[in-house]
Symmetry: none
Subunit: 243 residues, 4 copies
DNA sequence: AATGAATGAGCGTTCATTCAT
DNA sequence: GATGAATGAACGCTCATTCAT
């Protein structure tokens, strides 16, 4: 959900999403997608409609091939074949195999980023309700994009840019939670020996890594509702929120 | 504390060596190192003293090269060169590059396993003290073996055996914690909507993944004591232990 | 002094345009630029003014790119980019990369050819003065077009047409000198064991190759006046001219 | 003719030619082949006899392929095939195509270098006789190695190392001639406005470039004796030697 | 047990040229 | 004339693994 509520977005000629003035005025702080997540800012941008179609087809095909073969086994030739274009055409749009991989990673991670910025209807939810909602959203995204997210976690180890994307997106969640913990500490909730930054990072790790082992590595066959409830419950307990 | 005499072992269907009940009854909690973690069971075992020395040198060299270049960039030729033997000699002792990698992973993971089984002096510690002790130990091991642990986390994505090692070791911690949670639930502590297995898995994820982002990906520059205190505190809260 | 009106031309079997005797008789020594040096005879000729401008811009850009990257590393895409036209437009005017290269080579070599035919004011010069003048002119052209001349010398090795241009231009000088030597031999100057053709070729080699090593390969940091004086002196000595 | 008269040579374990003490004592200044010309110092040196044979076969095959196809069109695969080894074996001995090319260039140029250092029997020759002898030797080497020498002249334009080899070998001749001219100038022979360095360079250019056009580019069909006589005669005249 | 030569499949990338619009 | 997308042949190089000695 990239678009902001109560406003319209457009893309300038460079393909960068621009919030128009009305939306900014109406919705207050608009959360611009960080540059690092803009997949359109990567690779060569085609000028013609035909070119844009071909590029899009390549990205879709690459995703299919990456999910099927993994990044390392994926061959550019296969991606091109899958897209129905010649081998050389791939390089009309992307500098290398890793570049198109980053495009897809940015796409998937922007979903995670969006989930963290989607506050639609949050007003009617309690603090706990918001956490539950976020956790459920995270699980959904992992279910739908598990293969690519798994490949991304690997790539963190060998590609600097993927690592930066990974850290940037994580940072969004960590920062928000940290501020929440700080607020609570000011209000007298939570122990003094809990560092807000560490606590926030640990909570994000708890959820994301649990889901990784559950849905990607197949650690257990848990019930989703139970998982959401347990995670939310633990989260609340760790933050000393009254459940 | 790699192996203990005085018990028999068997393998469960997942290939994990399990201490049978008899041995447990006879020798108290005996913690046999699972076969999957026995690095000596991998690769060709030399018969002569010289051979054993060469094999050892290769393992040490491989670790140096892997930590320096990563698994993918590491070349067998470099490992052999580092060990001062010819390229071909490598294959006298190991079937492949990934095989020697697994040996090292098993070595490092057995340290983690040991840490989880080292109950020396635990009698004098409170439940919370034991958790703190375990967390601190985990951080220490990550500090000392971070490079290899990072490589292992990547390899989980593309090597089945590494994945099995990873899951087996994790399972040890998860199971213990699960039993602990179950006990507490029987004693009326902890909410009913907390699933013991999920809770245990989430706690392990919380600690291990936080440390990964902290020490490997350099997420923050936290104070170790503060980190240990915060993690232990959160753990206790999640389990509704009185602190 | 690229072309002179008032004569007809024909082509000898080597494709070199020769002024016929009638035209020579009528207009004095007319020096038609050989067809092989006419860069306008190469590539597709545009009909519109705009087209001619584009073609010219491409030639200028190509020269910039060739001098910067060399012939082999130069890419047609770069030439087009430098000229501010699309990649495909290049092929509206030139058949291939080597074709535009030949155009530039022909342009540069026609300068050399001109220098050899520029007899303006020669009447007031002694034979030695003319040689000095020619040598100095040659050096000047090499200074101003060194990069392209160096590329041409290389291309001689792999492009038949460039080789023909190279030989045709050289031939002009060699022939003139040969005739001069023959005249002197008839007048009793110069040893009988000196072959006029070989002598002429050797003298041309002496000057051109010396300048190549000096100005292109940076063999020495010679003073230009000294170089001209030395070359002229050696030339005179070789021809047994009284200095 | 790499070996020095009146002495023996041997190769140390690195394959470097060493003049033994006796030869030094007997023959005075021994002319060590410059490192840049030692083809054995390039590429990977095999340890075993089999390896040395294979490497040698590759060099011979590469020469065949280069002479047939030129450097640019030559493919490593063809070189390997010609040598009867697999594609990968090529890279056991040479880092790249250009590396084996340099080996051959160094080999050929060391012949030229040798020719410049071969003073066998020079005692019985007049100064002019020595020049004639050198010129004839040069022509012979060009006849026998023309293809490779032509390729080398091209490569001078795009390979730094080949250029260095080319300049180094030329320098040997230039320096010797320069000293000779300086000596003559001290003895009152030769004009004051002749710079020894320029004169020497020009003479070397005269011979080498004339031979290049003659034997490589096929400029003329000269008689060898007449060419030698003419060149030597011109040389003598330029140096004001009495013929 | 050790050596090091030999293998050869594998793949990413380049870029001159063509072509549909 | 101009555009720029599409083509696809071409090739250098890597390196894990095997094998003869």
């Amino acid at each position: 959900m990239r678009s902001q509520p109560g406003g319209t977005t457009s893309r300038d000629e460079r393909g960068v999403v621009m919030a128009n003035e009305a939306s900014v005025a109406a919705a207050g702080p608009v959360h611009e997608l960080p540059l690092i997540l803009m997949s359109d800012s990567r690779g060569i941008q085609p000028t013609t409609v035909k070119g844009r179609k071909t590029r899009k087809r390549l990205v879709e095909s690459a995703r299919v091939v990456f999910e099927r073969d993994g990044f390392l086994n994926a061959r550019v030739a296969d991606i091109a074949k899958e897209a129905g274009v010649s081998h050389g055409t791939f390089y009309t749009y992307f500098d290398s195999k890793v570049e198109i991989f980053r495009v897809i990673v940015a796409d998937v991670m922007s979903l995670v980023w969006d989930a963290n910025h989607d506050t639609t209807g949050n007003d009617s939810l309690s603090a706990l309700g918001r956490i539950e909602r976020a956790n459920r959203g995270f699980i959904r995204i992992y279910r739908e994009n598990g293969s690519m997210l798994a490949l991304m976690e690997q790539a963190v180890g060998y590609d600097k840019e993927v690592r930066e994307i990974r850290l940037a997106v994580r940072q969004v969640s960590v920062d928000r939670i940290r501020r929440s913990v700080e607020r609570m500490q000011r209000e007298g909730i939570g122990g003094a020996d809990v560092d807000p930054a560490i606590c926030a990072a640990a909570l994000v790790s708890m959820v994301s890594n649990f889901v990784y082992f559950w849905l990607i590595l197949g650690e257990g066959d848990y019930d989703e509702d139970l998982a959401v409830a347990t995670l939310t419950n633990m989260w609340a307990s760790a933050l000393h929120m009254s459940t």
